[in-house]
Symmetry: D3
Subunit: 319 residues, 6 copies
Amino acid sequence: MNNHAQQQPRYSGIATFMRCPYQPSLAEVDIALIGVPFDGGVTNRTGTRHGPREIRNQSSLMRSVNQTTGVAPFEMCRVADVGDALPESPFELEASHRSIQAFFEKVVSAGALPISAGGDHSISLPILRALAKDGPLALVHFDAHCDTGDNYLGSKFHHGSPFKIAVEEGLIDPHKTIQIGIRGSVNNSEIWRFSHDSGMRVIYMDEFYELGVQGVIDEIRQLVGDTPAYVTFDVDALDPAYAVGTGTPEVGGYSSFEALKMIRGLAGMNVVGGDVVEVSPPFDPTGSTALVGATVMFELICIAAQALEQRQKAALAEA
Amino acid sequence: MNNHAQQQPRYSGIATFMRCPYQPSLAEVDIALIGVPFDGGVTNRTGTRHGPREIRNQSSLMRSVNQTTGVAPFEMCRVADVGDALPESPFELEASHRSIQAFFEKVVSAGALPISAGGDHSISLPILRALAKDGPLALVHFDAHCDTGDNYLGSKFHHGSPFKIAVEEGLIDPHKTIQIGIRGSVNNSEIWRFSHDSGMRVIYMDEFYELGVQGVIDEIRQLVGDTPAYVTFDVDALDPAYAVGTGTPEVGGYSSFEALKMIRGLAGMNVVGGDVVEVSPPFDPTGSTALVGATVMFELICIAAQALEQRQKAALAEA
Amino acid sequence: MNNHAQQQPRYSGIATFMRCPYQPSLAEVDIALIGVPFDGGVTNRTGTRHGPREIRNQSSLMRSVNQTTGVAPFEMCRVADVGDALPESPFELEASHRSIQAFFEKVVSAGALPISAGGDHSISLPILRALAKDGPLALVHFDAHCDTGDNYLGSKFHHGSPFKIAVEEGLIDPHKTIQIGIRGSVNNSEIWRFSHDSGMRVIYMDEFYELGVQGVIDEIRQLVGDTPAYVTFDVDALDPAYAVGTGTPEVGGYSSFEALKMIRGLAGMNVVGGDVVEVSPPFDPTGSTALVGATVMFELICIAAQALEQRQKAALAEA
Amino acid sequence: MNNHAQQQPRYSGIATFMRCPYQPSLAEVDIALIGVPFDGGVTNRTGTRHGPREIRNQSSLMRSVNQTTGVAPFEMCRVADVGDALPESPFELEASHRSIQAFFEKVVSAGALPISAGGDHSISLPILRALAKDGPLALVHFDAHCDTGDNYLGSKFHHGSPFKIAVEEGLIDPHKTIQIGIRGSVNNSEIWRFSHDSGMRVIYMDEFYELGVQGVIDEIRQLVGDTPAYVTFDVDALDPAYAVGTGTPEVGGYSSFEALKMIRGLAGMNVVGGDVVEVSPPFDPTGSTALVGATVMFELICIAAQALEQRQKAALAEA
Amino acid sequence: MNNHAQQQPRYSGIATFMRCPYQPSLAEVDIALIGVPFDGGVTNRTGTRHGPREIRNQSSLMRSVNQTTGVAPFEMCRVADVGDALPESPFELEASHRSIQAFFEKVVSAGALPISAGGDHSISLPILRALAKDGPLALVHFDAHCDTGDNYLGSKFHHGSPFKIAVEEGLIDPHKTIQIGIRGSVNNSEIWRFSHDSGMRVIYMDEFYELGVQGVIDEIRQLVGDTPAYVTFDVDALDPAYAVGTGTPEVGGYSSFEALKMIRGLAGMNVVGGDVVEVSPPFDPTGSTALVGATVMFELICIAAQALEQRQKAALAEA
Amino acid sequence: MNNHAQQQPRYSGIATFMRCPYQPSLAEVDIALIGVPFDGGVTNRTGTRHGPREIRNQSSLMRSVNQTTGVAPFEMCRVADVGDALPESPFELEASHRSIQAFFEKVVSAGALPISAGGDHSISLPILRALAKDGPLALVHFDAHCDTGDNYLGSKFHHGSPFKIAVEEGLIDPHKTIQIGIRGSVNNSEIWRFSHDSGMRVIYMDEFYELGVQGVIDEIRQLVGDTPAYVTFDVDALDPAYAVGTGTPEVGGYSSFEALKMIRGLAGMNVVGGDVVEVSPPFDPTGSTALVGATVMFELICIAAQALEQRQKAALAEA
């Protein structure tokens, strides 16, 4: 499954994630790149349903080797674009989540590690439901919002609550959950209380700059250890200067460089999946947010490839 | 309720529809201007939830007198912006429709004629439910699509079906329904069959140019007569050159001039309400689609004011 | 003064009007192309101060021969970009007008015919003051608005009134003034009363389509005859589909094709100057309005070149 | 090869032309949809290399049945996206043309009829070289420019000359070539002389409106008869109001509706291929030009499907 | 005066500042949010007259509690949108300033603390005239420019000079004035000489990074002490990456995070008013500059609420 | 050659670089500002051919004195816009390079120091060919890419290879070449091997932040010493937040402030020329990338003026 497409002019050809082969059959795939074009859980500006398409488009700017870490994921494992997890009833939030979950269960059954592009943040819930079959996962969560809120406008499954429900359903371990980049005004001062009460580590922006990027990485690694971990990246974690094309921008976030450095800092962790969410092309006239999304996705692929390699080595050593 | 705001610089002040007074109490209102920021019924590109805000903003370019017809609606009756019909459960299509309907029922009870700005086209259904209490209405329907389709993706209440349901529920009389501007490719050749089978008059674009604008007006007036009539204007009726900011644009529509002329041609009809829908600001970088929407809304206000005046005169004559 | 620049790639070089030589000295110029970057007379959205720059930029798409009429203006006479008529006190409307007038008086003294790019429509007033030294001119006026209004917000010299003042000052003959494309809502039904009372010919959009383009041309020619005539083109005469980048767009105008055809229909008239105004680049993200402005300007140059040639012939014949 | 993808939400999945299956093998394809991402022949603004990607993206808005004509191309024949004809040496114009030609020769050998999306207009030359193996074709050419110019800036193979070369190489019959929509200024009055001298029928915009759309269709059909015909559609044929995203816009063209009607008027002709060129996404912020391009492409597919059906019937009748 | 509107979907309803109640009567208002849609003092690109509208629109993204400081301004005091300070003669700079001053005098008389959104920076002058009735104020001034220049183009009241005049009129104390973020090229090296000569503290960008944000805060607090202070925030203080939509951008400024942190650092100071100016929507296609403006305005409201609370406590203690 | 244009409103007049006089004759010019509108060497997104025009336009925001360093370049020497280095055969990469080289040889012969605006990065090669007549130059190279790659798509002269060829031709000394800002994914891990093997100093982004801006400046100065040096600035060196309008953006670069500080840190070095390249206006809707480009160009002019002054002093001292 070498990737000749990456050698062609970047504006040419069908736009798949990273110009990887399109493999909807899921056969012989180690890392499955998946679009989840669903934004039915959004509380304000929509448009992330168009995220997968535009991230695919911009991801043609990505190449095959990570220059900083030397990781060459497409040589280390078989990476394919397996298409979109379609919400079969897009007008119903919970039914949509069920069909997304079913798609990811198939991916997991096929033995592939999923790296996804959203869609709104509510999609992480059905993904976690598919992934956390053997017990709660650790969660590395980049975001401006804790997304551990309560019911809103009559629903508890919207994009501001997935990680509260994930704890309640035993999908993630709050003591191994870390949320990085929280900021902005809130509707009530208790809105993220669940994060604190359940034992999550919440790093607000002021503390972020006190710790520094390396300090944050150290905390993540210490907290998560070798627990199987899911990495979720909401582009609104970044300052709007870096990612204006999102539904709920919050002024005062970190930079793209700081984000990439943090993800690279996860190398060697026991990553079992990841997503980049909340890229909203209608609010992104230059495509730069989708480009950041594609770049984050590439870094996620790299640390996933490293995790796969490590698990293979461990399995070999054990055998 | 004179409208001093219209004498101030147009970029100034709070943006209400036509710079009319903001009157959420509904007291002393003859024509109620209403936003319906709901796009939960959309099958492709969303964003019309932002329509009312941007139409309000662009409507500051409107002034007080219709130069073509001489109608001065704000002198003829009391016109106010009464705020938004909010979907209380925006994550549920049918529940949203119920709360929209409830809002319009209050407007009707208060004795006001509603002119609305959407939102997606599914909102016409709850509006008609609130308006058609005394029997089916006639419908003058400007659109690229008949919107009389069947279930789609598990729902029958989406923005491609309101007028089929409206017939089924006895809200509109299909024999007094005329659909103008139909075109584009379709998913199956039977998709608008309901329009034809139920007896609606469907004017496709080719026939539109054969009849000419005056011919179309003549047909509308003959068909509708003095039946109480609702006028619904989907901006995708216009060619994308005139209204690019919409969710389902179809190349090959009529011009703004032709549209305005048709609406003016309805003067004297027994209009009981109207809406302009499917303006999607995220796809409208210049605001020109919202400007067209505001202009159409102004014309709807004018023919509504004429209808009110006529009904008052008739009532006086009768008394 | 041949124009080699027009043979180079169109994206290259300093941007002058039509890639003509830059000749601020006014020496040896028959037709002077002038920018008037002033928008201090605007009542709503500004930005036309940037019009000359962007029209210069887009005018690189123009070439040397008018394919429809065969006119080759740059061979028939010496055409140069003579720079900008700068308002010396841009914070004062009347002082600005005085400095604009002074610039055009120099142009006229140098024997050049001015074709200008605005700027807002108020600039036509100082231009007419410079040109109409020998008695009132005829005026061919393309616009959505009559611009014959009264005081507004404490000033009578804004962009909605120049032609009322021009009549009052004897600069134009209202009986030889024709206004084409009038439409839109108005603040009071008497706002353009001056046009009618003074004897101007006002063609509203409905009548425009009744007459047809040729009918309008016939009226213009009959009305103006061989009186020295000024041609002023406000881009808001066009429908916003053709010219969205302007301060006061009015839905329902004519097309670019119809406009070009009307200007070409003025060939042979005794044109003494012309302008294209109200191109507002900040509201014109694609540059298409500036392109239309540049195209109109090219057509004005062509009919000016024809007028010059005709006057030369007449002078020779007389001699 | 049914097309289930067309039943899914239009924003979902990999973007292929018309959401057709991706079939780079060329096996079992009747109509091959091809991207030609090459703009090395452009004389001014580039960007059409991005045309195929964005036309693919916007073509998701197309559906399966032509509502006007009733043609259902995807049921009548096997239509597939076969990928891009890549210029192997994009820095060399002639070498690029050779590799494009080679791609189309493979398509023709595989028995498929090619409908392409450019790219600049120079690509029609290598396509014609691949198609016109059995003698010169008729050419139906929609454009603002004749594209029969001479050398420019040291090359004769640029996007302003393909049809002169095509005549010289015997690929098209000038007496069966018709060019529709010509307008704009020109660098010298002789620039399109080759069109006239060689016997092409050139319809300038003024004559276009004199003839009317039906008159133009009649001329095309009479001129071409049943000669194998190629249809080439440069989006700059349209007025910039309808297609601003192109490299060489010319103010004053026809409308989208008129264009679609003309293409539909070719139904029953012996079409052997077609292209839509000069869509330049960097100059098309709303995507509306790519949408028009996709719509034109759909109409070309429809008349191609009709031609294929007709040839099959003729072959059967003969057998 | 609780603010239920903040609980509704953020895209809904009339757009007021922070979705606060609209209270043009000024009755029962502690903090008055005011738009000043005036840009007649601008020396280059205009458009800030549209600032208040778009800041109102984007401010719907703000919520009720400041997550960083815990301040809940809408519970601490009565905050209302009191409408716009309209320039009654927008064509005259000084007359406009007089009517703006009159508006703010009414606000001050009504006992409300004004937080404003401009408009260009010239508006701070009439605001200071209304506020500094009891002696010169301290000034905390975030900007890329000192705005203490001389006459320009015939006027001394433009947006590059308000603080020179404010010193001359005794409205601010130069020894308690601090200007933060100064940079960019200048027309002459003496242009900001007045700042230095009068004793203002000027922090250029190089020194800004030497001091660090906390160092700057320390200087501000030491300099101002408990003198009544006005805070003025010109968005061009920020790097264009964070605030491109402004008239005079200067490359090389600080980040949004750094700005928010500095404003929060003013908590406890004796703030008597504040403004955010120079947001120019026509140059801000994504709305991100207006969003930053709204966020800065929210922080100003928070420190104003704290100041009000403190003064109430002091008054109580004294009583 | 004083520069009165800089005293006029910045939106007015012909757009030349820094509003300097237009001097195509090259007479009496110390620093020649040159546009190189060529993007034929681009491997992905084009559009930099429009860079010079838009940098000229945005450079009107520049003024005459560098506030940070006090340098007043237009007083220290004669600076002029000398027009564009036109590629005479834009369809041929190598021929284009030859004509660019010829233009710069004329500039050098005329005794002027060239500061250029591209154009893609391939243009630095012909410029270096013109400048390095007396032996290899030192090179200070700001970029996300080393641009020392091999053949790509059949050509070795594209924008990813100029500095490899420059070393091979003896135009630059690799041991006095420093490349700052390298990052992003690569097609193979050996792609920039030439940089390392030839002895260039390559500073990747991680190291950049370890060294800090001052550390980088120190390295540059130590490495280059007083060798004649060329400074080349690819705007993709900056993070896309600061410079989105470029063909090959790479997420994770430095800020504008850091870039300006580094260039100012070169003051006193023996600069013989410089360029800013890869500004691509079609991808820069707000013009902010062109503004950064213009600002960088201004800083380059300042250090060039300092170098000229120093060389004059040295020459005087020697004499």
